[in-house]
């Protein structure tokens, strides 16, 4: 799977940067430290944007292409942040014929973001997923682990309100 890159502006804080530097310092001189550093950095930022990878590359004297090569090899690393509430709309066949596309449209307009994006306050991210096997409830969406089924576009607002 090709890794999806983010369209969200980087808004790392000085505090996060200090933590990252501390992490890098802790692993200084340790052989093969790139993986633990990337894992730690993802813990700090929630994802690994170019700004973070560049900082790691420069601090550890590793080419950025190598850092990125590692980050895109392992499925655990993500380049695109997930929202506090990750909204996924099932676009499997059953859901699609039941109007999942309309749910997606409604979500995009209510959240002001497009499929694959995250809101500026990082509260919501929006994705399409393949069939999650809840065809009997079609069309369905999930918010984190919670499944909502038999939806119509006018029910979307009520669901989002629960998390606002």
């Amino acid at each position: 799977m090709k890794k999806k890159m983010t369209s969200v502006a980087f808004n790392g804080t000085a505090e996060q940067l200090a933590k990252l530097d501390e992490l890098i310092a802790k692993h200084k001189g340790e052989k093969g430290a790139l993986m633990p550093v990337l894992q730690g950095a993802q813990g700090i930022y929630g994802y690994l944007p170019i700004e973070v990878q560049k900082h790691i590359a420069l601090s550890m004297d590793v080419p950025l292409s190598e850092v990125y090569g590692v980050a895109t090899f392992y499925s655990q690393f993500i380049l695109n942040p997930k929202g506090e509430y990750a909204v996924s709309v099932c676009l499997g066949t059953a859901c699609y014929v039941k109007g999942a596309g309309l749910l997606m449209d409604k979500l995009e307009s209510l959240l002001g973001i497009k499929n694959g994006e995250i809101s500026n306050d990082r509260k919501f991210s929006l994705d399409a997923t393949r069939c999650i096997g809840a065809c009997g409830l079609a069309p369905v969406l999930t918010v984190n682990e919670e499944v909502y089924g038999r939806l119509t576009p006018d029910m979307i607002k009520g669901i989002l309100d629960k998390y606002n």
């Binding site: 093969g32 790139l34 993986m35 894992q39 499925s75």
Partner: protein, 636 residues
């Protein structure tokens, strides 16, 4: 700090009683001072996800309320193995086996059993209740045929208490080797035991050690492969969660044998409980001086650290694992040179998996002859299997090598649910193959499985019944390897994708007979030409299903039919108009509005029957469960 073997022995003796208390040996008197009951709660990943930690808290609260906290010890242990019945609670000394416990049951058990002395029959695992008699877990079919060596402490000790591990003779083997045995003797013992790697290829462990030991003195490494990635296999996780000190002890023994002072354990990041328990265990071993310098007062020093995987199945391949620890993309490298000669950071390295290590301390303590007495001629000892798929007792079992597949499935595994027939068992995960019903009596060991076109792998054993489509199964595993191929060598990177495309073509009903030749040609090529074990074994599911179930492939191609009714393009849902009672429940479930009412009223029914418009149906199957009672919907 434990400075010598005497101090270790003292702790062992102090805790041995506690451990004995938890071994149900009828007729043997056990005692643990003032403590009358031990309540063991499974803290493995499965039971934890069904709230065993909260059950433990509730249990302790209830025990306190009842005022018996000085008489009862509650222990969160590793996995008992019978995950299908979790969360599991066992009460000793009688070995009463509670299954599928909920938080609300905690109080009942405390009141009726711990205080009242009467096991709560309604909460017991049904197979342990024979009329008035209550059996211990060791007397159930699931446990009776097992022989727990690698798993011996899982579900017995508190993995976070080093003293409990010592109570099981823990660290005695390490003490013995560093104080009494020259490294060569250690290697000879392992060699003689005949133990082979439990993680995949089954290479003799002692030979690996011998090669690494033969390298010139200098920096060497001991690595543990805990990157258990086969879908459905979790024996390594269970050992890490249930008996982490066994791994630490074994790695230190290996370090002593080959002359290494540093170990790395590479564990999947998806195993947080295992990682935390192992880290806690490493910390306490260090605190007790069992890791670090001057172990047991000798010159021997050894320390270890954990490295986390990051979601790449290929890192279970030993050279990929090493490249990953070195901080790179987990791409395998060619062998030779083998890791024993040029491994981690270019230094001699041995890599064994968790289960292999878990056997080592006992081989040292009980001797090679003891180990050799179990198993078959070329496969010694036991093997842990993760039973899954269409089998009653899903979970973890450890059996002597040579046990037949039938025994494992029918007796230990409790057979196939819903009266369905055994069709095949898949071993070795995406690297393995399937063993058909005609080979049900095969004795499971390394060589027999390979002879069947499958392999031991890490020990996943997935049972399939007549509802499984073997072409679809091959496709499932191939999709997995395509996703997990590292992309370095051409045969695996491109070949597996082309293989999958041909399978897709067949399952979509567009296959031609020539495709079968192409599949075989390509599969054999990938097997012989790929750089690493992942690629070399990736075609196995295709080859073994082709060998054993060729007629199913032909049915897909020639008749455009999927005999098991799995491949969506090759069947339609239909309603038997005469069975249909016209309740309309199916239409309500249908996401595609493909079901409507006909004019036909079947004899004896009041309402007109329903029918499915094949052109609208998306084959999601949502209608099927609504008709369970009338069984009018079928695939045709």
């Amino acid at each position: 700090m434990i400075k010598n073997i005497q101090e270790l022995t003292a702790i062992r003796d102090a805790y041995a009683g506690k451990i004995n208390f938890r071994q149900h040996n009828p007729g043997v008197e056990v005692s643990d001072g003032n403590i009358k009951k031990h309540v063991l709660i499974c803290g493995g990943t499965g039971c934890t996800s069904s709230k065993s930690v909260q059950i433990k808290a509730k249990m302790e609260e209830a025990i306190k309320e009842a005022g018996i906290q000085d008489e009862v010890q509650v222990v969160l242990t590793g996995c008992f193995g019978l995950c299908a019945l979790g969360p599991i609670v066992i009460v000793y000394p009688e070995g009463t086996f509670y299954s599928r416990i909920e938080i609300k049951d905690a109080e009942t058990i405390v009141k009726e059993h711990l205080v009242g002395g009467n096991p709560v029959k309604s909460l017991l695992y049904s197979q342990t209740v024979k009329g008035d008699e209550i059996l211990s877990l060791n007397e159930t079919a699931f446990y009776k045929k097992q022989k727990r060596v690698a798993l011996r402490n899982c579900g017995v000790i508190d993995p976070e208490c080093i003293n409990e591990y010592i109570g099981t003779n823990g660290y005695m083997a390490l003490a013995k080797v560093v104080t009494e045995m020259p490294p060569d003797d250690v290697i000879n013992t392992i060699l003689e035991s005949g133990i082979r790697g439990r993680g995949g290829g089954g290479f003799p462990t002692g030979r690996k050690w011998m090669f690494a030991a033969a390298q010139p003195k200098g920096q060497k490494y001991v690595v543990c492969n805990g990157d258990e990635g086969d879908p459905g296999a979790f024996m390594d996780r269970s050992i890490l969660e249930g008996d982490p000190h066994a791994l630490i002890e074994a790695m230190a023994i290996a370090g002593y044998a080959i002359g290494a002072n540093q170990g790395y354990v590479y564990v999947r990041a998806e195993y947080p409980i295992a990682v935390n328990r192992l880290q806690a265990a490493i910390d306490s071993a260090r605190k007790e001086g069992l890791l670090g310098k001057n172990i047991f007062g000798t010159d021997f020093e050894f320390d270890m650290q954990i490295r986390l995987g990051a979601g790449a199945f290929v890192c279970g391949e030993e050279t990929a694992l090493l490249t990953s620890i070195e901080g790179n993309r987990g791409e395998p490298r060619p062998r030779p040179p083998f890791p024993a000669v040029k491994g981690l950071f270019g230094k001699p390295t041995i890599i064994n998996n968790v289960e292999t290590y878990a056997n080592i301390p006992q081989i040292i303590l009980k001797g090679a002859d003891w180990f050799k007495s179990m198993g078959t001629e070329k496969s010694k000892g036991t093997k842990v299997f993760a039973l899954g798929g269409k089998i009653t007792n899903t979970g973890l079992v450890e059996i002597p090598m040579g046990t037949t597949l039938r025994e494992v499935v029918e007796e230990i595994g409790g057979g196939i649910p819903n009266g369905k027939k055994f069709k095949a068992a898949q071993t070795g995960g995406p690297s393995g193959g399937c063993i058909p019903a005609s080979k049900y009596d095969v004795e499971i060991d390394y060589d027999n499985l390979i002879a069947q076109g499958s392999m031991m792998g890490s020990g996943g054993l997935i049972v399939m019944d007549e509802d499984t489509c073997m072409v679809d199964l091959a496709k499932f595993f191939l999709e997995f390897t395509v996703d997990e191929s590292c992309g370095k060598c051409a045969p695996c990177r491109i070949g597996t994708v082309r293989l999958l495309e041909i399978l897709n073509k067949i399952t979509e009903g567009n296959g031609e007979m020539e495709d079968l030749d192409k599949l075989e040609e390509l599969a054999n090529y990938i097997k012989s030409a790929s750089l690493c074990g992942l690629g070399q074994t990736a075609p196995n599911p295709v080859l073994s299903t082709l060998a054993n179930f060729r007629d199913e492939y032909i049915a897909h191609i020639v008749d455009k039919k999927c005999p098991a009714g799995v491949c969506k393009n090759l069947f339609t849902y239909k309603i038997d108009l005469d069975k249909c009672v016209g309740c309309g429940m199916c239409a309500k479930q249908c996401p595609a509005d493909a079901i409507s009412r006909t004019d036909y009223v079947a004899e004896g029914h009041k309402l007109a029957s329903m029918t499915i418009d094949a052109s609208k149906c998306v084959k999601c199957g949502a209608c099927l469960p609504t008709c369970k009672k009338f069984n009018a919907i079928y695939k045709g």
